[in-house]
């Protein structure tokens, strides 16, 4: 069981976990032969900080009433969440390689009824924040101190329904809600700014009466600091706008739209596994580039 709100976790240990979590993502996708590496890899540092330090939850009792709720709105990044859930002990890691196969508990997109630890079914973009608002309102009505975290894609923010929900969260002063935006500036057809720009994103959220924190999405420490600030902010919902790199941690996938929705073949998989390391700070590739 995790009580959460851990302000002095062993950062080094958390960073080491990210390597194992990325390995899990890659082995799942490789075994499946299809799926979405880019957006799964970009949220690993956040999910690690969340599940292993901030969140109150119990992997042995996924329906624990007092748990905090995590809503993955960008459902295609399911493998990222699956790997974290396996790491935390919701189900055996061996399940990861059944991803996307017939009868698997790990569906191509999250399925509430099939996977322990999954709160909402998602995959059709634009719906998670509304559901998170509903859950936050329900918890408030019940006098619960549980909180709700919602993970959004930056491309996903093009859905109008997200902006309807953004207004609801602020209007209802949902300070038990934290949204996390994976601001990797990539979607399928290209960069978010080219396809249909969302900048200036922080200003937009501010204008919609949110507490806005901009954060380095690949620094565990920065995530933890931001999560603490979110926890302490009253009367407003908080959004963490996380600057991330799509495909983070696998040098040949980083910042490439082509790696949005293709699984690595065996050769690529082996290369990716070999190159895994702690990415907190500049990635291995970035360091190599700097040396060259």
């Amino acid at each position: 069981m995790y009580q959460g709100k851990n302000e002095t976790p062993d950062i080094k240990k958390l960073e080491e976990l990210t390597v194992s979590i990325r390995r899990g993502i890659l082995s799942a996708l490789h075994a499946a032969g299809s799926g979405h590496p880019g957006g799964s890899l970009s949220m690993v540092e956040f999910l690690t900080a969340l599940y292993f330090a901030e969140l109150r939850h119990d992997p042995k009792n996924p329906d624990w009433e007092k748990r905090d709720r995590v809503f993955l709105s960008k459902g295609h990044a399911g493998p990222g969440l699956y790997s974290v859930l396996a790491e935390a002990g919701y189900f055996p890691k061996e399940e990861l390689v059944t991803l996307r196969k017939l009868h698997s508990i790990l569906q191509g997109h999250p399925h509430r009824e099939k996977t322990p630890g999954i709160e909402i079914s998602s995959g059709s973009l634009g719906q998670g924040l509304g559901a998170a608002n509903g859950a936050a309102l329900g918890l408030r009505l019940d006098g619960s101190d549980s909180r709700v975290f919602c993970i959004l894609g930056d491309g996903e923010l093009q859905e109008g329904s997200i902006w309807e929900a953004i207004m609801t969260s602020a209007h209802r002063k949902l300070d038990n809600l934290v949204a996390w935006v994976d601001y990797n500036n990539l979607q399928i057809d290209g960069t978010v700014e080219d396809v249909k720009g969302i900048a200036p994103l922080a200003d937009k959220f501010k204008a919609f009466n949110w507490n806005v924190i901009e954060v380095d999405g690949h620094s565990i420490e920065a995530q933890l600091k931001a999560l603490k600030k979110a926890r302490e902010t009253k009367g407003k919902p908080t959004v963490l706008i996380a600057k991330t790199v799509k495909g983070k941690g696998v040098c040949f996938m980083e910042n490439k739209a082509e790696w949005h929705g293709v699984a690595p073949n065996t050769e690529q998989y082996e290369a990716a596994i070999k190159g895994l390391c702690i990415v907190n700070g500049p990635s291995k590739q970035q360091a190599e580039n700097a040396e060259a």
Binding site: S34, G108, H109, H111, G123, S124, Q187, I188
Partner: protein, 312 residues
């Protein structure tokens, strides 16, 4: 069979779109961040300015398309079938179907053979949704060549349409004759005992099943109902008079699709064939390969044969 070159219906769609765009300046394509997958992006080979990536915003895409159609454009809007019909249903209803706007709603990666993405991505009720809207033409091509013919033919239907496309690969197996014509079912085989009526790439399995049944001495007719709406009612009536049993086969829920459309006609006849509907029973899909999922719901060759033999 594996030696035959296979293509996906969406590839034929892309070919057709390019040809149309070359021939007609009013042809526009819009997409919601799936331009390569749906093949709509290919219109840029003809004219970059006639492609609009609307971002992940299906409702906005449909409203924008309706506005463009008012300005005399023929707008092909694209996404996965599940999103373009589901998320934007009310925009299609009020801004496309009601005012008869010249918008062609193209639903890609439809049906079970969407595959491993799972329940949220498998569109198995899209035909039901679109068929129930007045003024809509609904076409489900059976192979890539037919998809190309369909997109070109739909240009001449001045008004709203739904084109259901698939990424399930098959050879181009539908014969040249009888030629594709919107609203006219294609009788591919004539029999006397049982008639298999289907649509979409699953027709490939239907034809293979008919071969097996013939060998077992069951005289099997096969009809391709590529147009679900307007339904070829005359052909349905004549089939219902000629055969004792009709079997509908579709990669769609048995509620509201081709099977239901046939049932609506057959139920009104004084006497005629009984109908068995094969498809997805009232349930969501799940992850798996397209072939596995077709087999699970009895839509592979074996499954169709078994269902027919059970009738006897």
């Amino acid at each position: 069979m594996s030696a035959l070159k296979t293509r996906e219906a969406r590839d034929g769609y892309g070919e057709g779109l390019v040809k149309l765009a070359k021939a007609h300046k009013d042809v526009i394509a819009m997409d919601c961040d799936l331009g390569r997958s749906t093949r709509s992006f290919r219109i840029t080979e003809v004219d970059k300015n006639r492609f609009f990536d609307m971002g992940i915003a299906e409702q906005d895409m449909l409203s924008t398309a309706a506005g463009m159609a008012k300005m005399g454009k023929t707008v092909f809007v694209n996404s996965f079938g599940v999103f373009v019909t589901g998320r934007a249903f009310d925009q299609i209803r009020q801004q496309v179907s009601l005012p008869k706007a010249n918008v062609k709603v193209c639903g890609s990666s439809s049906g079970l053979t969407q595959g491993a993405d799972g329940a949220t991505h498998q569109s198995v009720v899209d035909v039901a949704l679109m068929r129930n809207l007045p003024n809509m033409t609904v076409v489900v091509p059976a192979d890539a060549k037919q998809a190309e013919e369909a997109v070109i033919a739909l240009y001449d239907v001045k008004g709203p349409a739904y084109l259901r496309l698939s990424k399930h690969p098959t050879p181009d197996y539908i014969p040249e004759t009888p030629a594709f014509k919107i609203g006219k079912a294609q009788v591919l085989r004539t029999g006397s005992d049982i008639c298999l009526c289907g649509c979409g790439p699953v027709m490939y399995n239907v034809l293979a099943a008919a071969d097996v049944l013939e060998k077992a001495g069951i005289k099997t007719g096969v009809v391709n109902f590529h147009t679900i709406k307007p339904l070829d009612v005359e052909t349905v009536k004549s089939l219902a008079g000629k055969y004792k049993r009709i079997v509908s086969i579709e990669e769609h829920s048995i509620l509201g699709g081709l099977g239901s459309a046939l049932a609506e006609v057959i139920a009104g006849l004084e006497k005629g064939a009984t109908l068995l509907r094969l498809g997805v029973p009232d349930t969501f899909g799940e992850s798996g390969s397209g072939e596995e999922l077709l087999a699970k719901y009895g839509l592979d060759t074996d499954g169709i044969v078994k269902s027919v033999k059970n009738l006897k």
